[in-house]
Amino acid sequence: MARELAAVEFVANPIQRAFDKIRNRGALWIVRLVLYGILVDLGFVYFLPMAFMVLTSFKSPLDLENPTVGWLPTSLFVENYTFAWSQLGYGAALERTVAFVLIAVVGQVLSTALVGYGFARYSRIRGVGILFLLAIFTFLVPPQTIVVSTFLNYKILGWLSTYYPLTVPEWFGQGIRGAFFIFIFRQAFGALPWELEEAARVDGATAWNVFWRVMLPLVRPSIAVAFVFSVVWHWNETFAPSNFLQDKYKIWPLSLELQNFTNQALSNSNPLSSGGSAGSTSQFQQSTLLTASSYGAIMAASVLVILPPLIFYILIQRVFVQGVERTGLIE
């Protein structure tokens, strides 16, 4: 570490002196202005596709075919939303998806926190390192490459066309990027000072109490971040549901409904392209005829699907910034 720091300092000291000079002149607001400029610039890159999506979702077929209409629709064409709503079966699908995501996410965050704690705080016991590397290995094997065997596995268990394959592995530290969440918690717990644990032990706390009452509250930012990622990734997941729920479209989550709707709309508007893999399975939606200008409806459906996680994030993001309490140690 020391050698790297020396190297960094060698490069950075002139920069630092320049910064100090700026501060001495009292021109800190210039730095702030530059920071704002960069933030606004980056925000623009993120904001543009979102704005495009929302604005297009309000365009009528006439607007979409009219080349003189730019970004702004001439009028708010709400029919896109009513159409997308009915095609997605939004009310019922939303309920299903929220229930499924909640069950999966709570299990995944709890179990991976537990396992990550074990990997972080007991790393000196022989064999733990190898087990952890095994966990990391499962992280880099994409589910797509082992889907045939996974499918057979669930078939033997009789779990096909149910939500078990999408929720039960989550309670055992698996599921979508489960090993990554274990890794998040291992890093977070590993950064907590040893003296904390020791003090709790001296006071007679059991291992479980040290984990649950002392350590877990201190990694709250990591819990929040794991929770958010898990929610979003489960919400948007189409691969596992399309393989394990298959054509039981009555229990499809929103992600799959959106994929199906999009495939339908695109294949109907363009006779040359074949329907998507999931598109041909649902009979009751195939009767709907869509035209080339159904693009607005696709965008409306997309907005409807990503709106819930967006609202959820806005509500939970304050936890990120609360930071941790002081650890109560005198260093």
């Binding site: 980056l42 993120y46 016991i125 966990a135 309670w171 990734w233 994929q259």
Partner: protein
């Protein structure tokens, strides 16, 4: 005298036994914490992994009754992938090179963005919301829609880039656009990293900063001596995530798509696809192992001793 002689072995025993018992207790505690994962691994991961390993040393044969069976072919699939297949190795090299070009960009950008957002500038809540957009949109089919619907027109039309496009003409304009396109893709793929760094930054105890301030450290020194060491576990995490994400992203990585096309093509060459997959994982794993080896001596865990 006799008493002391008798007591001494006893004392030794008492000194030795708690150590063994303590170790045993810690192993039990460890078992309690990681058992869920072991169960999950054995139940849901081990069998598919082992079977794909078996497939990679076999070839699929359709029997006369319409069934299928696996024929053991040894390492033939592996040598075919390495020496016969014209695309696998170049794709692999391309994936590794592009990953190592992108990774530093993403890391530096994500860390900078996270630090900027921690400064408490006016409107950071808004920016934090904005930086979440790539996470929620990027992981969905919507992203594919947007990019498939022509990411470039979306970015050019009506934006500040349009005049540039008209002035320099389409030839150079397309090059410039390509750069912007690449850059915005890099930015789009760093949403997760920004949030991870942000969580890491807020996880650093304020006590350290207080001490640094009292000791008269400058902002830069504080960054170097407090923020970076405390953040180093998070840097390792973000590095590994970026690497794996880049290697396993079916949208941007040529290797995975190629492997899947081998397995699902008319020849249904699942054995070859399996062999390619395993070699690919092993290559990524070796790179990861190197990173972990380096991290062992360069990442600071306060809880380690």
């Amino acid at each position: 005298m006799r008493a002391t002689l008798r007591a001494m072995p006893g004392m030794k025993l008492r000194a030795a036994r708690p150590k063994g018992a303590l170790h045993r207790r810690r192993v039990l505690e460890l078992a309690f914490f990681i058992t869920p994962w072991i169960i999950g691994f054995v139940a849901f991961q081990a069998y598919p992994l082992l079977q794909s390993l078996q497939i990679s040393v076999s070839t699929l044969k359709f029997t006369s009754k319409g069934g299928v069976s696996w024929l053991w072919v040894g390492l033939a699939n592996y040598s075919n992938a390495l020496f016969v297949d014209a695309h696998f190795v170049p794709y692999l090299v391309q994936a590794i090179v592009s990953t190592f070009i992108e990774m530093p960009l993403i890391l530096v950008f994500a860390l900078t963005a996270a630090i900027m957002m921690k400064q408490g500038l006016w409107g950071t809540t808004f920016f934090r919301g904005l930086f979440f957009l790539p996470v929620v949109i990027g992981s969905s089919a919507v992203m594919a829609q947007l990019l498939g619907a022509g990411g470039v027109p979306v970015i050019v039309q009506g934006s500040f880039l349009e005049p540039i496009f008209h002035v320099v003409g389409p030839t150079i304009g397309n090059d410039i656009l390509g750069v912007f396109q690449d850059m915005s893709l890099v930015l789009w793929r760093s949403g997760v990293q920004v949030l991870l760094f942000l969580a890491g930054l807020f996880g650093i105890s304020p006590t350290y900063y207080e001490v640094a301030r009292i000791d008269g450290a400058s902002a830069w020194q504080t960054f170097l001596k407090v923020t970076l060491p405390c953040l180093s576990p998070m840097v390792l995490l973000v590095t590994v995530y970026t690497l794996v994400d880049s290697f396993t992203n079916p949208l941007t990585n040529p290797v995975l798509g190629y492997i899947q096309s081998q397995g699902l093509s008319g020849s249904l060459n699942l054995g070859l696809a399996g062999a390619m997959g395993w070699m690919y994982f092993v290559v990524i794993f070796i790179i990861l192992a190197g990173i972990f080896k380096y991290a062992q001596t360069h990442v600071y865990y306060a809880g380690e001793r």
